[in-house]
């Protein structure tokens, strides 16, 4: 038998190439959409871990709490009857954000502030060991309390948008059509708008500059009249509420349960480190990269290996560019 006879007949090869292109574009689109939401999640953690240098293992669990709060606003507290199933999920997500801002504010005031900020600035490791243990404890309490209160059933915010799609195409004759899930697309656009707004606040306003100064040099920030502990509290609460908002935006597409935080906290830390510590925009691109790698890897790997693909890629970046994709080496000299 000659080699040529083993391959598919000529006509079949013509058919498969557009399908391959379609699959790649489809995965890329899914990656961009999920990546934008991951990016928002990572930006929340970047405020806390990247900028304030506070280790928060409970970030994913605060996000889980945000998802449940959004769920209850939607299903039980009148958002669905009032705003309908189309706008309702987004209204609910935006209502959950301020609630989690409050949760973050008080968690910082009563717990986190005892192991961070000016109190530990002079200590070895800047209080990181205590933060690790404290936030791990908070994570366990949130997980188990949620299980007691909400039960271990998987729930989701139901909207017709999550099962409908816009179709791009047909492109390239009739061969290629890309499906864009409506719920994901709207969540991605909302994420981008929120990040743009936050970048303006952090970059241009007095509050933003005060936050960055407090992160750069807490003592010097005190000398110029900034209440550093208060700045840290605002940054912590803001970081929690932004991640919670991202959780609310994910809720229509990704059913959740009390232990879902762990899956996301790993993605968040990988994204923040990938983007470069201390950079808000970097954290966004870190999250985006993870979304794209995760979705694209599904083309060649079984679904169970999607998260492994993220970490292989993560290790590669950390090996080749230890300061992260967007980290500046001169920062924090």
């Amino acid at each position: 038998m000659s080699r040529a006879e083993v391959g598919p007949p000529h006509g079949v090869r013509l058919m498969t190439f557009p399908i391959l292109v379609e699959n790649v574009l489809q995965s890329l689109m899914a990656g961009l959409l999920v990546g934008a939401i991951y990016g928002l999640m990572c930006v929340g953690l970047a405020l806390i871990f990247g900028i304030m240098r506070v280790i928060n293992f409970a970030q994913g669990d605060f996000m889980m709490l945000g998802m449940y709060v959004a769920y209850f606003f939607f299903a039980a507290l009148g958002v669905q009857p009032l705003f309908g199933s189309i706008f309702g999920p987004y209204v609910a997500a935006f209502l959950a954000a301020p609630v989690l801002f409050g949760v973050g504010y008080f968690a910082h005031q009563f717990l986190i502030s005892r192991v961070s900020g000016t109190r530990t600035a002079q200590l070895d490791g800047e209080g990181h060991y205590a933060q690790l243990i404290l936030t791990l404890g908070i994570a366990l309490i949130l997980q188990n309390a949620s299980q007691m209160i909400f039960g271990s059933m998987v729930v989701s915010v139901r909207t017709p948008l999550s099962s409908t799609a816009w179709i791009i195409g047909p492109l390239w004759g009739d061969f290629i059509e890309i499906f864009v899930n409506k719920a994901r697309a709207i969540a991605a656009i909302v994420s981008l708008l929120v990040i743009a707004g936050l970048a303006l606040v952090i970059g241009g306003t007095r509050l933003g500059k005060a936050l960055r100064a407090s992160a750069d040099d807490p003592t010097a920030a005190t000398y110029i009249g900034i209440d550093v502990n208060f700045a840290h509290r605002i940054a912590f609460a803001l970081g929690i509420s932004i991640t919670a908002l991202a959780g609310g935006l994910l809720a229509p597409n990704y059913p959740f349960h009390p232990f879902v935080g762990l899956e996301y906290v790993i993605i968040m830390y990988a994204g923040v480190v990938l983007g470069g510590l201390g950079s808000i925009i970097g954290a966004f691109w870190g999250g985006m990269t993870i979304g794209i790698v995760q979705q694209m890897s599904a083309l060649v790997l079984p679904t169970q290996l999607q998260n492994s693909a993220i970490f292989v890629f993560f290790l590669l970046i950390v090996l080749l560019r230890p300061q992260g994709l967007f980290g500046r080496v001169t920062e924090r000299t």
């Binding site: 960055r212 010097a220 005190t222 000398y223 110029i224 009249g225 900034i226 500046r328 001169t330 924090r332």
Partner: protein
């Protein structure tokens, strides 16, 4: 304006300052000189509230400073330019200066102040968009002083502004300090190891050794003192 009465302070249980009293009158230029480890920076950290004294009192324009949290003290009109500059490295030069004007007075007088600061240190104007962490040591020192001036302070506290700088740059910075004084009659409290320069420009001086004030007096008295001449001025 600033009265420090019988301050004792230190880290953990080791006292660094023992019963130190220093007075700065309005419009005065006061220098505190002394060797390494005499407690000069500890004195400044106590005035700024980073360190709580174990005894004594500090009053600023009649206010009890020790009753106020550290972050409120800048708003009273005290600008602390710390040892080692401590500019905000990941913020631009301009953002550093803008943050200097975090106080109410600084915001109100921003226009006048920024013109004066960039006039004194033109290099900051050239580097306004650069990250402060990328500046040279001398430029960072100028930025730190500029940040202090941007708050429209009543009292400017300078901790070793010449530390680690080339002599010509240190001279330039001292010249500009004299210029600031000439323009504004700003009250200045300076801590220095460059004793000759520090005493030359000052109205009044204190010598701090091992946490105690061992000598004080006006410029002429101190420079005529045999001990000062031998130990610090090399004469």
């Amino acid at each position: 304006m600033l009265e420090i009465a019988g301050i004792s302070a230190g880290y953990s249980s080791v006292p660094v300052l023992r019963d130190v009293s220093i007075t700065v009158a309005e419009g005065q230029f006061v220098s505190v000189v002394g060797p390494n480890g005499a407690g000069k920076s500890t004195l400044f950290r106590t005035i700024s509230g980073i360190l709580k004294p174990s005894a004594g009192a500090i009053r600023f324009e009649g206010n009890d400073l020790l009753a106020l949290p550290a972050s409120r003290r800048a708003h009273l009109g005290i600008a602390h330019v710390p040892e080692g500059r401590h500019v905000f490295p990941s913020l631009t030069v301009m953002e550093n200066l803008e943050l200097g004007a975090f106080t109410e007075a600084g915001r109100q007088n921003w226009k006048t102040n920024i013109d004066r600061i960039l006039g004194l240190f033109p290099v900051l104007s050239e580097r306004r968009r650069q990250f402060a962490g990328t500046l040279s040591g001398g430029e960072q020192q100028m930025l730190a002083i500029g940040r202090g001036l941007a708050s429209s302070p009543k009292l400017l506290m300078l901790d070793e502004p010449s530390m680690g700088l080339a002599p010509t740059i240190a001279d330039f910075i001292f010249d500009q300090l004299t210029e600031i004084r000439r323009q504004t009659r700003l009250t200045i409290l300076l801590v220095e190891q460059r004793v000759a320069e520090a005493l030359q420009t000052a109205d009044h001086g204190y010598v701090l050794e091992a946490g105690r004030v061992v000598l004080e007096g006006d410029n002429q008295t101190l420079r005529a003192n045999d001990r000062i001449r031998a130990a610090y001025l090399g004469m």
